[in-house]
Structures are given as C-alpha cells and as structure tokens.
Symmetry: C3
Subunit: 350 residues, 3 copies
C-alpha cells in the first residue's frame, strides 16, 4: 500500500509537518531509506548518537525538537505509531488461492479456495483451512485440524491431528502444535505412557516463533489465549493454560497444567514447574525458575531461582556478592571476642 | 479395540463393580466421556475438588469409597492401570503398507511391505525400515540407517546417515538423530572441525519428543538405552551414553561423553558438562547444573547450580534468603562488641 | 582421498616413523580401525587407560614415548593434526549437479549447475545458490536468498526470504535463518508487531547445528561473522552481531542487539539480555546469565548469574556452601557476647 504523509497521519490520528503530499510506500531502516520511506526516530535513544536519520526520508518521532525543515509525522509514542504505520504500509500477506501443484489436499479435507498452499504441503483428511490462509512449503496439517481465517503457517510447521487455530494465527518455521505431552507412569520396570489424547487450542492473533513446541492436553486442553506472543524454541507442556496478550521470550519452558494469566510478561530461558500459576500482569525476568505449584502474584516483577520479587532478589544478590566481607567481619569479631575473653579471664585470674 | 468392563478388568488383573458387560471403547477425559469411556479418578487429588467424574462413564479408581452404584474398575494404582487400560483400548498405530505416491524409496533401500510412508518421505539408499513402521509426512531417513520394527516417526523427523533405531522407537516431529557433534580444535586462527564420524544407537521402546537433537559420536557411539523417554527440545551431544528407563524432561542439555545410568530422572532445563556421570536412579531437579567430570551418586535427589543433595540445597537456599538478617545480626554484634571494648577500655582507664 | 603415511605427514608438515608407504584412507575410531586407518592417541588422556590403540592402525600422537615398532605420525598437537588429517582424507562433500526430480527451482531462481538438490527441496523466485552447494531433502530457500559457493544445507533447513549466506556455510537439519525477530509494542490492549524487515548475513565458513533459530534484523542486520561455530538449539535474536571465530554451545540464547566480539567462547544454556557486549576472547561458562546492557571484558573467564569473573564466582560459591557454618558461628558469637554482657552486668552489679 502507499499513502501520502497526510493520509497516513490521519489514519494514525496524528499530526504532521512538511510535505503532506509526499507518497510513502514502506517503513524502512535508516540505512535502506529512500524518499518513499517512513523511518523511526526514538528521540530519547538516538539523539545522543552520532548518526541522524536520513534527510530524504519522512520520520516519525516525538513532537519536541524536530527541525522545522523535516517532513515528519508527530507522535507521543513514535515506536508504537511507527509499528502501526508499518502494518498499514505493508499489511500481512493473505492467501489468494495460489496452490502449488505438489501440495496435497487429502480427500475429505476442506481448504478454502483463496488459501495459498506452498510446495510439498500436506493437508490430512478431515482438516479444515479457513479463508485467505497462507500455508508455506512443507507444512503438515494433521487429520481433523481446524484452522481459522488469515492464518500464516511458515515452512515446515507441523500440526498434529486435531489441533485448533483461531483467526490470524502466525506460526513460524518448524514449530509443532499438538504433540504428545510428556507423561508416563513407572511400573517399577518401564515407563508406561499416560494417555495423551486431549486437545490444543490456539486462539486468535497468537504468534509463535520458530521451532517451538506446544503439546496437546493429556486428557484436557492446552490453550493459548488470544493475542499472546511466543518467541522461538519455547516449550509449552500438556494442559498449560495461557491467557490473553501474554508475552513469552525465547527458550522458556512451561511444565504441565501451569496457568499464565492475561498480560503476564515472561523473559527468556525461564522455567516453570507444573501446576504453577502466574497472576495477571506479573513480569518474570529471564532465567527465573518457578517451583511446582507456586503462585506468582500479579502486578510485580520477579527474578531468580526460585523467583523472588525483584527488590528482594537485588538485595540478596548484592549481599551474596559481599559474602567475603561478611566472612572477614565474622572472623574479626571472633578474634575480638576471644581477646575480650582473654582479658576477662585475666581479670578473673587476678 | 473394545472390551467389556469385566474383560478389561481381567486383562489388567483387577476387580470391578457394576455393569460387567458394558462395552468400553476408549479412555477419555471427564469432559469428553460417554458411556463407552473409561475415565480416571485420582482419589487423592480430585476428591477434594468440586467436580466429580461423569456419572455415565466407567471409572477406574482406588477401591476405597467408590459409591456402590457406580460402574468402576478397582485399582491400587489407578493412574498406572488407567494408562495400561488406555494402551489396550487404543493400541499404538502400526503400519499397514499405505505408501503415499509422493514418498521416495531410493534404489537400494529396504522398506518392509507393511510400512506406512506418508507424503514427501525420503528414504535414502541403503536404509532399512523394519516391519509395520509408520513414517509420517516429510521424514528424511539418511543413507544406511537401520530402523527396527513398529517404530513411529512423526512428521519432519530427520535421521542422518547411519543412525540406528531399535524396535518400537517413537520420534516426534522435527527431531533430529545422528547430526554432527560440536567439536573443533582451535589452530590460533580458525576452528578446525574434529571428525564427527561415529554412530548413534537408539534402543527399543525409546520415545523422544519434538525438535530434540541427538548427535552421533565423534569417533565412538552415542547411545540411548531401552525404554528411555526424552521430552521436547532436548540436546544430547556426541558420545553421550544414556542407560535404560531414564526420563529426561524438556530443554535439558547433555554435553559430550556424559553418562546417565539406568532409571535416572532428569528435570527440565538441566545442563550437564562433559564427561559427567549420573549414577543409577539419581533424580536431578529442573534447572540444575552438573559440572564437567562430576559424579552424581545414585538414589538421591539433587538440585541447584552446581548440583547439591536436595536437603543441602534447601538449607542453603533458606540461608540465602536470610542474608539480610545475618548481615543485621553481624552489625548488631559489631556494635555490641564495640560497646564492650569501650566499657573495658573505660575500666582500664579507671 | 587416500595418501601414504609419508605423503600425509608431509602435507601436515609433520614427521613420521614406521611404514611410510602404507596407504591411509580415513580417520577412524579405535574400534573401527583397520590397516588403512589413522587413529588418534591423546597421550595425556588415553595412556592411563587400560585400552591402547589398535596395533594395525597408523596412530597420530605426540613424539614422546611412541613404541619404536609402531607406524605413527608425530605431532606436538595431535588432536589438531588429526582433525586436519581427517579433512584431507575425507574432504567435505561438494555438489556435482545431482538434482532430484522432485526438487523445485522456481522461475527466476538462479541455481548453479553443479549444485546438488535433494528430494522436495524448494528454491523460491529470485534466490541464488552458488557453485557446488549441497542442498539436502526438504530444504526451503526463500525468495531472494543469496547463497555462496560450497555451502551444505542439511535436511529441513529453512531460509526466510532475503537471507544471505557466504561461502562454505554449513547449516544442520531443521535450522531456521532469517525469521522475524520478537518485537512488539504494547498499546494497552494488544501487542502491535514492530516491523521485522531487516536482513541477516551469515559469513564464510560458519557452521550452525540443528534446530537453531537465527532471526533477521528488525530494521537493521543480524550478522554472524566468518568462521563462527554454533551448536544445536541456539537462539540468535534480531540485530545481534557475532564476530569472527566465535564458539557458542547448545541451547544458548542471545537477545536483541547484543554484540559478541571475535573469538569469544560461549558455553551451553547461557542467556544474554539485549544490548549486552562480550569483548574479544572472553569465555563465558555454561548456564551463565548476562544482564541487558552489560559489558563483559575480554580475555577472562566468567561464570554465574549474573556473570562474574571465575575466581570471584568460585569464592562466592564456596562461601555460599559455608553459609550454615557462618550462621552457626554467628550464633556462637551472639551467645558468647551475651555471656560477656552478663558477666559485665554482674561486675557492674557488684
């Protein structure tokens, strides 16, 4: 899409200065920008740097201190509005019915006509793929899967049978949804597999990174709530329930039946034991560990293994660093007290 | 398969009450249960909950306190027996010779007639695939691989050339077996690859989750023992030896030449340095770290980085949390001792 | 390739003893060695072991204490020279123009004639694949990708559109290069995707393990420098810059815009916050955590969360283990001081 500066500003509900008629065709980095580019200037961060944004591009930035000769869209939250503008200039790709001759749609599968199917895609019997989806090369959609409209499945995504995706779900390359949970019962000799026959539901507007793994429920449901964003190489175990608009960074692992409530923010490489609960809006720092069954209260920031409120973690970590001093002080006190006793014993001996 | 309640109880070596002639067709969750369902009631956990199992399904539960009007199979270990029953009602899928026309079996490969091959499977020259295997869409089986009978390879599994699988091995989607180990020798300028020409053996009844990676030996063998179960996103490096009936949870990584003996249980996100050894039956908690060369004694539970016996870890972690108090006590003692000295000096001054 | 012992020694710039005319065809493990094998004897490690290298193979080892009757190539750094010898005996596989009939080269893609393309490969429009590359089964090469000469892409590798690889790059099975970075701006209700429209460059001689994920830049570039080696299941976020000859072990994750300078060595399961910097040659131990924005000085070894110089980490970890003693000593001191006060009060009461 392309918009004039004035059109784009109006769509964003923002003001502008300079050439209102200039056509903008795309969001760009500073390095690759031309006259049809919108570029992002974060006044707080980038002003101090030696670089300045390219003079030929339209910038989107905070209203304070923009040189009067620059064409600019003015925003109190330029990072957010640059993101919104980029989605207007380059909307997500929707399917247009381009189906590669090597794509296989099984008898009994129901794929809408405007779906794009890349090479070597396989859609198993009974699967449904909704309007305008884009299914990239080598994707496997298992029997009975249900996929809403306008989803994008990047190359090599695998959906196990019965997985359910809402609308506008984006799954990146190599991600697996609906695999068996990891549950066994030991009989003294062998590990007998506990049935992994539940379901998995990925709600609207979820985006999941590359090579992540989402197990289906053992008997119940694994659910990822609407608008949640998950990074690469994340593990979600059976029966986990994740709320709406949650953010989970790379390489985090969530054990069975744990609940992450709405708008929680989870760093990278965090580990959750089973049956834990993270309340709404809690923020958990990278590499933290949450014990099984633990309840993490909402609206706070947590760090460490096991997790503690950030202020406590910082205090403890600082004291940990001062252990050598504490040990030296302890030794000094011991010496001092020994001298006192020597003195007192001497007194008594007198 | 379907069995009557009395037949199923007899196969499990258990008693029952109620309608012995009722036909059971499947294990179910409570939510999806109908009259032909067997459902699992964990008396210890679920009794306290507000929910109760659906009245129309047959339950399998402990003999104590089952209402007399319920059809039930009675077990001292209902979770185990429910798992065993589920395997009777829904046995693993075996191949029946369904070979998709897009599956490629190279000249010189030897695939048994009753193997299922999904779309876009590739079996390289010299590979052997045993009786009744199920090879799902997009699996790649490298040259000279040897696969036993009744294995299940989920979509996108990759076996590098020469990988050996026993019988009834299950590999979930995206898992890679037999890749190059990570070994280089620095020559002062570049990292020269150490030869990664060994082998990898996955023994009978091993199950490995999604997107895990099992490197082959550099010169020797990487071996995963019979009945071992490995979760998603696990890394097993070159020359690792894992014993029988070991359990390894998600995102754990095991460095080169480390040995994990039989029946060890390893939590998620654990890291092992190279050349470590975990003795038989040791249990290592999630997120623990085992130093290179470390020997972890069997029959105990370990936590922490570096690992310590659980009781010690707990004591240290509790003391860590009390560092602020210790610091305050230390300060208070210093003050007190200073006062004593002042007093004593005063005395002496007298 | 095959060489006589004397030829191979000369190529390596080394001396030898014994049968200079014996033909060597391959590097081997001790177990699989025959008369045409070169095997590696690490004098420091393996001499003490009960085993000795097979008498019929040529060994490469340190000059000290080799029995006079053995055929041997003599090296001051036998591990390095064994690796160099193995590369001479078994050079990397180059493409010879074997293109499987199921491989798809889109119109407008430019694949050199001598490239090998495995089954079910997909090369999208505008992609370029350089001389003598080997592209294994099921690889997807996105639109506009540029791949240098003699690269090896193992099965199921995915390159997102526009990814750039240098020469002799090796990507192992399931690895993804050029995926969207994980960047969103919260608008109070939903997470709006920040544009992920940058590029990714993998320079010459980089090798990346299985199922790793390398995001492209959001606006700028993600770059992995020449000769860098990356293990399995590693996450590299958007705009990360990795220098030359860096080594990164399995399951490590590097957050956005972090810089790792040349020849740094990073252990497994390490986590880096965003905008951190690791200076040239720094060594970071497994499971370490580097805070956002942290600068890790070069030429030292670091451990822990957050990272500290190794000596400091060791001292603190030792003191952590002695917390129970410190607590006991503190208690003992408190008792002692209380007794002193009692005595002094008694004195004063006198």
């Amino acid at each position: 899409m392309s918009y004039s500066v004035s059109e784009l500003a109006a769509l964003l509900g923002l003001g502008y200065q300079g050439e209102g008629n200039r056509r903008l065709a795309r969001a760009s980095s500073w390095e690759s920008a031309d006259e049809s580019s919108l570029v992002f200037l974060d006044n707080r961060k980038q002003r101090g740097s030696a670089q300045s944004p390219p003079s030929h591009a339209c910038i989107i930035t905070s209203p304070h201190g923009v040189p009067a000769d620059r064409t600019a869209i003015l925003s109190k939250n330029p990072k957010l509005d640059f993101s919104r503008a980029a989605l207007l200039l380059t909307p997500p790709t929707y399917g247009q019915g381009r189906q590669h001759p090597t794509a296989i749609v099984s008898p009994g599968a129901d794929v809408e006509k405007d779906v794009d199917l890349g090479p070597h895609v396989f859609v198993a019997p009974g699967a449904r793929v909704g309007k305008a989806c884009v299914v990239h090369a080598g994707v496997t959609i298992g029997a009975g899967c249900e996929i809403g409209g306008e989803c994008i499945l990047h190359p090599r995504v695998v959906l196990y049978p019965g997985a359910k995706l809402g609308n506008r779900v984006v799954l990146h390359a190599g991600t697996v949804v609906g695999s068996d949970g990891f549950g066994y019962v030991f009989d003294g000799q062998t590990h007998v597999k506990f049935p992994q026959i539940g379901s998995v539901v990925i709600e609207d507007d979820v985006e999941i990174g590359c090579n992540s793994t989402i197990d289906r429920g053992s008997l119940g449901v694994t659910r990822i709530g609407a608008g949640t964003k998950i990074d690469n190489l994340v593990q979600i175990a059976h029966n986990v329930e994740i709320g709406r608009a949650v953010v989970i960074a790379a390489q985090t692992g969530i054990s069975g039946s744990t609940v992450i409530e709405d708008q929680a923010v989870i760093g990278g490489q965090v580990g959750f034991g089973d049956h834990a609960r993270v309340e709404k809006g809690a923020i958990i720092g990278s590499k933290a560990g949450v014990l099984p069954g633990k309840i993490v209260r909402g609206g706070q920031v947590y760090w460490g293994v096991p997790v503690r409120p950030l202020a406590e973690y910082k205090r403890l970590n600082a004291l940990f660093g001062r252990l050598p001093e504490m040990k030296a002080e302890l030794q000094s006190l011991k010496d001092s007290v020994a001298k006192i006793w020597a003195l007192l014993d001497g007194d008594e001996d007198d």
